[in-house]
Symmetry: C2
Subunit: 356 residues, 2 copies
């Protein structure tokens, strides 16, 4: 079946099963492979392909095979209190540590009302929203954030000192879809700059700086420079706070200390730190009263007057939920070059990639 951008469309279920089997072959435990495949396919379903199998599966496979990321999960709870935990992931797969930490946050929040956990010595954990959303079926508000290798400079700086340091917040509703906010603290992702560079299209003002730290709309200059934080010095402050909590407070890497990420370095562990929080809504208000009130608040926003030419006002996460419905029905698009990589990986591991 032909997909968008010359890509091909595959059913989510088939991709999920195949991904799971690939990770099993790479030495990942059965439950861990199920979780990992689900979290990656969920990113693809939501249209966040940068955090789905299309971008990271082959990289994860290479990291495991080259020994720079441990396929076997092993956790040490370094410190623990009734509402907190610090979990050492011993260079395991980021998603496995994230699930463990978020599950602990939810269990603790059920007892104490709210909880805050963190992982250290971990890896890329995929889409932040997946972990925040784990809180939703428990009647809780979820939060997660992670640091990442440097891509942005402090205000006035001329060197990358901070990752895109994303964070996600998920809030349950009743009839309405839950609010799922998931954002990097840079105005745009690096991928957006790369796309403009390929098309020789100027950037919008405020997206990026050149290598001297001067604002630029030239995509080629921006690729040698840095991404701009949201709100200028405000976003710099947010990405710094994320790095201090995720990196410094957990004893993981931070700032310029990352040896690289994903495909950039296949020798040294990335040593990422991430944080997780859950707030049990019943600690503040009856859950049903809360979700009805959220419905009302969201409805007011969606019905509020629209600017000229705007057809609809979206709630954070809404576009992704609609994309998921569409892709569950019509399939997940995989670019042809990626399909070729998947076929090769499948052949190497004797787990043939399914036909579209």
């Amino acid at each position: 079946m032909a997909g968008v951008d010359g890509g091909m469309l595959f059913s989510a279920d088939r991709l999920r099963v195949w991904t799971q089997e690939i990770f099993r072959k790479l030495g990942v435990g059965a439950d861990d492979a199920t979780l990992l495949a689900d979290s990656l396919i969920e990113a693809n379903l939501r249209g966040v392909d940068t955090h789905g199998i299309t971008r990271v599966l082959c990289v994860y496979a290479e990291r495991i095979r080259s020994g720079v990321m441990n396929p076997k999960s092993r956790f040490t709870v370094v410190r623990e209190k009734p509402s907190t935990a610090l979990i050492d992931c011993h260079n395991g797969i980021g998603q496995i540590g994230a699930e463990k930490a978020m599950r602990m946050a939810i269990e603790k929040a059920r007892k104490t009302g709210a909880a805050f956990t963190a992982v250290t010595h971990s890896n890329h954990y995929g889409m932040a929203a997946y972990w925040a959303m784990m809180a939703l079926p428990h009647g809780m508000i979820g939060f997660s954030s992670t640091n990442a290798p440097a891509a942005a400079a402090p205000t006035g700086g001329q060197a990358a000192m901070f990752g895109t340091n994303p964070f996600a917040i998920a809030v349950p509703a009743a009839r309405e879809l839950p609010v799922v906010l998931d954002l990097a603290t840079t105005v745009v992702a690096r991928g957006r700059i790369i796309l403009h560079a390929k098309q020789d299209k100027p950037l919008e003002p405020g997206w990026a700086f050149d290598e001297r730290g001067i604002p630029t709309t030239d995509p080629h200059a921006a690729l040698k420079g840095f991404l701009a934080p949201i709100g200028g010095y405000k976003g710099y402050g947010i990405m710094l706070a994320v790095d201090l909590l995720c990196g410094v407070m957990t004893g993981s890497n931070y700032g310029t200390h990352f040896p690289g990420f994903l495909a950039d370095n296949m020798v040294d562990p990335t040593d990422v730190g991430s944080i997780f929080a859950a707030i049990d809504i019943e600690s503040f208000m009856d859950l049903r009263e809360f979700t009805s009130a959220i419905d009302k608040a969201l409805d007011e926003i969606k019905r509020s007057p629209r600017a000229e030419g705007v057809k609809r006002i979206y709630i954070p996460g809404e576009i992704e939920f609609e994309m998921k419905a569409e892709r569950l029905a019509g399939g997940i698009p995989v670019p042809e070059a990626v399909v070729r990589d998947f076929i090769a990986l499948g052949n190497e591991l004797a787990v043939p990639f399914p036909k579209a």
Copy 2:
């Protein structure tokens, strides 16, 4: 003594004592008046005059005298768990409720590792940083956020649906100054637009929208329109999340439901909600190890290469700490029109405003 902008300079101590006495005369209890005066003067000292006595003292006085804000503090703990509390402030002064809620968060975090509290039916609480910073002497990371009457539209919208909904994070250091991030979720404050309008100076792109929801650099059009959130749809998501947690989850006002704020409405209580959190660092890392690591991280940023023409890279809060040192030594500037208001208020309440 002549100050900046034709204002006059007053010693912080004299202003603090006078402010305290004014609030005593208005029926505020002794301890509450001390706290309230200190938090307002601290805002002035840090250069955040918009949240100091210069902007809000006369408004608070009028609110108390017209009966729309209660000078007597009375709290009901509506719900409480080991790591959470919801406190009804019964339309008391915002700062008094904020201090109570942040103190509870710190006490709870000491026992459980982390805590999250909230106030409902409260009022304007001044500078968010003051509450986050309360955590610092306890070896904790502090957080606070509050909602506020609508000033910004959702992405694509043509009606103000969200306040500037600020939040603050404070992180302790050892030799270095603590990191104190305090930001509104709009690119600039409304005051900045007003200033440009007075000078007929165009705004920078990305600051504001006109009343039709179209981006504008005309300050006069912007005053009829809306402030732009940081990072476009990202900031819209952040201000929405703040409103859902501070407003909806606490059962306070949110979105367009505010009857006005400060001087806008002297009949109906504002009914603000605010949230507070504390993380005990020792739950994750020995405090001394943490503060040294923070020192190192901040030092790396401050020493990182600077863009052309940039003399110095600042850490969030650094400018405010330096301003405080300057104003403690040289005095707090009070514009002449405000001095006249203070003299009048002092005469009415038989608490003469001190000479400069």
